[in-house]
Amino acid sequence: MSATGLVKYFGDKRAVDGVDIAVPAGSIYGILGPNGAGKTTTLRMLLGIIEPDEGSRMLLGSPRPRTQSDRVGYLPEERGLYPSMKAREAIAFMGALRGLDWRTGRERADEMLEAVGLGGSAHEKIKKLSKGMAQLVQLQGSIVHRPDLIVLDEPFSGLDPVNQERLEKLVLAERDRGATILFSTHIMAHAERLCDRLAIIAGGKRRYEGSVEEARATLPMEAHYTPREDSSALLPLLPPEAVRDGKDYRFPVPEDGMESLLQTLLDSGHGIAGLSLERPGLHDAFVALVGAETVERMESGEELEA
């Protein structure tokens, strides 16, 4: 799946502003960004649910995404199921829409529900299930036809930790089956744990595209230093970005390495009680890429202004 220069207006608002994306086959790809960043609109354009105002797309080798709909599974952000349908019928129905025959759909539905511990709910109506269970049913409905590409829009939102773990396992199992998985999220922990590659979108623009490791590598490693003897004379010896954190000092590893700094600390008599070098997390990389304010809004779930 790939897209070049996707643009979408809603009225005068440029909701998606020239987004490029390339999702390698067989990978788990995350689209990370705050609410209102344009993630859902981007996914809907990639799938052909809506047409972009500008730009082009390629889905499973076709420039016309709708022709590939039988090879795609999609879990929309706004969950939707018929409340009066039984769980296994709902899964089979979604499979039938994607070309799976009803009988196979029902058989697979039974297996899939059993696998996530919902076997007893197969004949329950959707309205009788909890929100998390219904969400799992919908996810299973979107993969029952064993698609080559699975697109999940905010799949973890609204799920409790147990169901989040179930969902993560399902995603990994589908990847192991050979499917390509594209999902959007505003929760960095999921992206960090699951994604092979990711794109960061904010304000309708793509701010980053690459692997999680590459994103983290955009920032220098961070040193956590604990002096043996602390004094007011220590701080001027450290890099200007150093901040005190309890008994420790945190600062980015200098571009020329740690050797000369360590020598200075030893010579000044402050000594080294502890020292660790850590790669910054995705959170820090994200802050560096899109700004602290955007990240704060993302983590609070606040809608981003265009």
Binding site: D53, Y74, G80, M85, G141
Partner: protein
């Protein structure tokens, strides 16, 4: 793929509609209507009968003239259908001042006099006079006619009890129904079709409300072309409508068979032949349903709430009435320009064409009309899906942006 997806959606809708307690109420609704109509009609008839039973027209004249008047009334009343017959005739002989006596009749209790005919004076040369109670001109006219009949009978010296001279009569057996009978059959079929579509096709206006409410529309829109979604939704509800029609059609046929015998249908003799006419009726019901249903589906799909959908019910009813009016006018004037317009206008075409089947034996216009109507079903669904994609899903560039190359750069600057 398109058809398969439409069938999946239609199947879901059909099952979700039919296997519910609400469907039973829907199916039996005409029964409730019949019961209420029967009870209400009987009550209204009884009230009307009780009022009419007390109504009288009164003649105050000599015994000889009264006999002539009664004889004339008997002859005329035989020719008037009972529902529109004048009030019962009562004859009296004059006592004292005829005008005062005539006026006093209106004040009598127990009867409701609508008009009184009396001799204004005494002797043979006294003229007739009528007092018309409450502008009941029909009663007054009727009494005037009776007076004239009596005058002629007296001049012709016809005794009151004499039978009129018999005119020989020979029965004539028509080989086919008269044109007015056929026109009536066409009107009847048109009305049945209109009634069915009025009752059933309007449901399509809210058919996408469920999907928009529970967000399933996103699943459907991602999995299938919107045209397939629209076709599936329409087909699902059409299946429900067919079930309804089959149920009540079967019941009505059985009732006719039991009450009037199997030959009852032979009374209807459309120009195109009874079996073809019935087949065309079913086909045109389908086309009428699909045409009007696809319009209502497209309009209803734009509504964002049940309140908006309810607001649409009035314009929908008006639209259906307009189509019925156009088709009725066409059926009343077969072969006219108006009839041609009604047959060509896609949304009145099924109604106008079924009426045409009763008066015109040619088959090819029906084949052409069905193809034409099918084309318009497809066009309406395509427009509806496009409108939904644009208006609800906000897909593709707006017209302003598409036709204004400076819009984008202006906004970006």
């Amino acid at each position: 793929m398109f058809l398969r997806q439409a069938v999946v959606i239609a199947r879901r809708d059909f099952i979700a509609t039919v296997f519910t307690p609400a469907f039973l109420i829907f199916l039996l609704a005409p029964l409730f209507m019949l019961v209420f109509a029967t009870v209400g009609g009987t009550g209204a008839r009884m009230i009307a009968d009780s009022g009419e039973a007390g109504q009288r027209i009164v003649v105050i004249a000599s015994a000889e003239e009264n006999a002539l008047i009664r004889a004339a009334d008997g002859r005329r009343r035989d020719l008037i259908p009972a529902p529109i017959a004048p009030p019962q005739l009562e004859t009296r002989e004059p006592r004292g001042d005829p005008e005062a006596q005539a006026r006093a009749v209106f004040s009598e209790s127990g009867i409701d006099v609508t008009a009184v005919l009396y001799r204004d004076g005494t002797g043979d040369d006294a003229g007739w006079h009528i007092i018309d109670g409450g502008n009941a001109s029909f009663s007054a006219n009727y009494l005037a006619a009776l007076a004239e009949d009596a005058r002629r009978d007296r001049l012709a010296d016809i005794s009151p009890g004499a039978d009129p001279p018999a005119i020989p009569r020979t029965p004539f057996q028509r080989q086919e129904a008269s044109s007015s009978d056929r026109q009536s059959a066409g009107m009847g079929a048109l009305f049945v079709l209109f009634l069915l579509t009025l009752l059933l096709a309007g449901q399509t206006v809210s058919v996408l409300a469920e999907e928009k409410g529970n967000k399933v529309i996103e699943i459907l829109a991602a999995a299938a072309p919107l045209e397939a979604v629209f076709v599936g939704k329409l087909a699902g509800l059409f299946g429900v409508a067919l079930l309804f029609v089959a149920f009540w059609g079967g019941l009505v046929s059985m009732a006719i068979g039991a009450l009037a015998g199997p030959g009852m249908m032979g009374v209807i003799d459309p120009a195109i032949g009874l079996s073809t006419f019935l087949t065309l009726g079913i086909v045109y019901f389908a086309m009428g349903y699909l045409l009007l249903g696809s319009v209502f589906l497209a309009v209803g799909a734009q509504a964002s709430s049940m309140r908006e959908i309810q607001m649409l019910s009035l314009p929908i009813a008006f639209f259906q009435m307009a189509m019925f009016g156009l088709a009725s006018a066409a059926a009343a004037t077969p072969g006219s320009t108006l009839a041609l317009i009604a047959e060509l206008f896609p949304f009145s075409s099924p109604f106008a064409m079924v009426a045409r089947g009763a008066t015109d034996a040619a088959i090819w216009p029906h084949l052409a009309a069905i193809a034409w109507q099918l084309l318009w079903v497809a066009i309406t669904i395509a427009i509806g899906a496009r409108w939904f994609r644009k208006g609800v899903l906000k897909s593709g560039p707006s017209l302003l942006r598409r036709f204004n190359p400076f819009h984008n750069s202006a906004k970006q600057n």
